[in-house]
């Protein structure tokens, strides 16, 4: 485990029943304070934690595509990935069955790899449920986590707009992608070979596909190239082709922003709160 790193899960759920329907995707991003900054602050005897998003590096380390899965299978899968990465925050789109999956995540018995397993329920930080991980953030207006980052937005389109603006800035300065699958040498690909499972290779392929999907996200313009906005003033985003992996990547980053904001608040409230104290 990399020192001082935090993980965030982005989930774009979808039933994915048909060949051409959207895929359901789980992505994990690892965040850490820029090493040079952390080093400089450590030398000065300061806390290395920073509440500025641009002081962090966001590395995309895992991707998984889910197709034709029931709500119970979805919740099992999320719990499985949750056990592996222990993310600080899970940000999930409420569309595509996200609302039901969110409810299912609070169950203490989950079907993981076909086996009924006892797990710690995952709920929203606002829920007063004991013995649970309070890490679930639903990507929608009105969710307490989202309201913390983007309060009082007039419409859903403005939330999507704000999300893309935040991630565009992050992509410019802080995001790190692993080598895209198609650019990898044979030696690099062989490193991912595991006789027991092809999951690592597929994770690399998923992240590569997500990188490609990011490039296909477009915003509507008029003839002169000026933005066309919706009724509430938000830009209109779409994609040429699928966009689910890219959106899951962005949700993971949104989860990070939510967590960072919460940490900053709690830091202010309690002095120098650490993550352990917060959660």
């Amino acid at each position: 485990m990399k020192q001082g790193s935090y993980h965030f899960m982005g989930v774009d759920p979808a039933p994915a029943l048909g060949e051409r329907s959207d895929d359901g995707v789980i992505v994990v991003a690892r965040m850490r304070v820029r090493p040079e900054l952390a080093e400089a602050r450590a030398l000065q005897g300061l806390d290395t934690f920073s509440d500025q998003p641009m002081d962090w590096l966001a590395e995309y380390v895992y991707g998984y595509r889910c197709r034709k899965m029931s709500v119970r299978q979805w919740t099992g899968m999320i719990h499985k990935v949750n056990d592996r990465f222990s993310p600080e925050m899970i940000c999930m789109d409420y569309n595509g069955g996200g609302t039901y999956i969110g409810l299912g995540l609070r169950e203490a018995r989950q079907l993981i790899d076909g086996v009924e397993t006892s797990v710690t329920p995952i709920v929203s930080p606002a829920e007063p449920l004991p013995d649970a991980r309070h890490t679930l953030c639903m990507f929608k207006r009105g969710d307490p986590c989202i309201e913390g980052v983007w309060p009082r937005l007039a419409g859903d389109e403005l939330l999507v707009d704000a999300m893309h603006v935040a991630f565009q800035s992050a992509l410019e300065h802080s995001v790190l992608f692993p080598e895209p699958w198609e650019e990898r040498s044979n030696a690099s690909r062989e490193k991912l070979v595991n006789p027991a499972s092809t999951e690592l290779q597929w994770a690399a392929k998923m992240v590569s596909e997500g990188i490609r999907q990011l490039a296909s996200i477009t915003v509507l313009t008029d003839e002169a190239g000026a933005w066309i906005t919706g009724r509430r003033g938000g830009r209109v985003f779409s994609a040429t082709g699928k966009k689910d992996i890219a959106y899951a990547m962005i949700y993971a980053y949104v989860g990070f922003l939510v967590w960072l904001k919460r940490m900053a608040w709690l830091g202010e409230a309690t002095g120098n709160a650490t993550e352990a104290e917060v959660w």
Partner: protein, 331 residues
């Protein structure tokens, strides 16, 4: 005072200018043949395809580009329909009455309309049995009449009043030229009034030939245009394989090297390359696609710059970012 004597009925057209039953059967099946015999017009290959699409598909959206002979094919279609299909009222609509007068009606004075077989079909009798003029130009509606009782009507549109003035009219065929410009005025006339007028009884409303027809003519537009939703609705039906619906897109590039009536090739006769080149130079690539080639473009711009994505990959290489299956297996 009437003169006593035998009543002699003279046929309204000489035998050689009559459309016989056999001809009628062939013409109904193939409107291209009908256009050739009735109007003496030789169409280029893509124009033939377009005319057949108009003829056989009940709802057509023709988004063909600039200078692709939409108007003349539309005029031929309207008149062939009035000549060949019994009990038809054809409605022709333009953004303004003046536009219709300048674009559609002059064809009735063109060499096409001088074809004897066509002239022989024009006209009709009024309620007292007197010969009427083939065309009449009333202030609110210009009408071309046919001897079989059919009519081609071009009413003065009033889109600003949501076409309420058309409320009493009923048609078997209705075509709107520059419909995207009508939509851009913000009127609901196309939906509320115009399409609702296409309710005149037909011989068989389920048959692609006899069913009532709608033709939407205009070059393509972009996604932000008010006409986009109608195009999308058409496209969804076409994608589903609905045989009652078609979107066609021809361009100046479709003119062929076949010889036309003048002895020149269609390309040489109708494709004005210098004009087209000037327009292409003036237009943005997106505008060119829409205006010249009939492509309904999204007018989109990428949100995540490729350079930023490339930089993120470079940064990943630098920091040796790698995929992993768990927090604990990270280096």
């Amino acid at each position: 005072m009437t003169t006593p004597g035998p009543q002699i009925h003279v046929p309204s057209a000489p035998r050689r200018l009559r459309i016989t039953e056999g001809m009628m059967t062939d013409f109904i099946i193939d409107p291209v043949l009908a256009a050739k015999i009735i109007f003496g017009v030789e169409l280029d290959a893509f124009q033939r395809a377009r005319l057949r699409t108009y003829w056989w598909v009940p709802e057509v959206m023709d988004s063909s580009g600039f200078s692709s002979a939409k108007s003349i094919t539309f005029w031929l279609f309207c008149n062939l329909r009035a000549i060949l299909i019994p009990d038809q009222v054809v409605g022709v609509f333009y953004l303004s009455f003046e536009a219709g007068k300048q674009i559609f009606w002059p064809y009735y004075r063109s060499p096409l309309a001088a074809a004897p077989l066509f002239r022989a079909q024009i006209g009709g009798l009024d309620e007292s049995g007197d010969e009427m003029k083939g065309t009449s130009k009333n202030p609110s509606c210009w009408v071309a009449r046919f001897r079989n009782g059919n009519e081609v009507k071009m009413p003065a549109p009033d889109w600003m009043k949501d076409a309420r003035t058309q409320a009493g009219l009923r048609f078997n065929v209705a075509g709107i030229d520059e419909w995207t410009k009508v939509e851009a005025t913000g009127t609901t006339g196309i939906d509320d009034q115009f399409l609702g007028r296409l309710t005149r009884p037909s011989y068989n409303q389920h048959h692609p030939l006899w069913a009532n027809k709608t033709i939407f003519l205009a070059t393509a537009e972009h996604r932000g245009h008010p006409g986009w939703s109608r195009y999308q609705s058409f496209k969804r039906r076409v994608d589903r394989g609905d045989p009652n619906c078609s979107i066609i897109q021809y361009s100046y590039k479709d003119y062929s090297d076949r010889r036309c009536h003048s002895g020149k090739t269609f390309k040489e006769e109708y494709r004005v390359d210098s004009k087209i080149k000037a327009m292409v130079e003036k237009f943005t690539p997106d505008h060119t696609l829409r205006e010249m080639f009939g492509v309904w473009s999204e007018a989109m711009r990428g949100w995540y710059p490729p350079e930023s994505i490339k930089k993120a990959v470079e940064r990943g290489r630098e920091h040796q970012t790698e995929v992993t299956l768990s927090r604990h297996s990270e280096a």
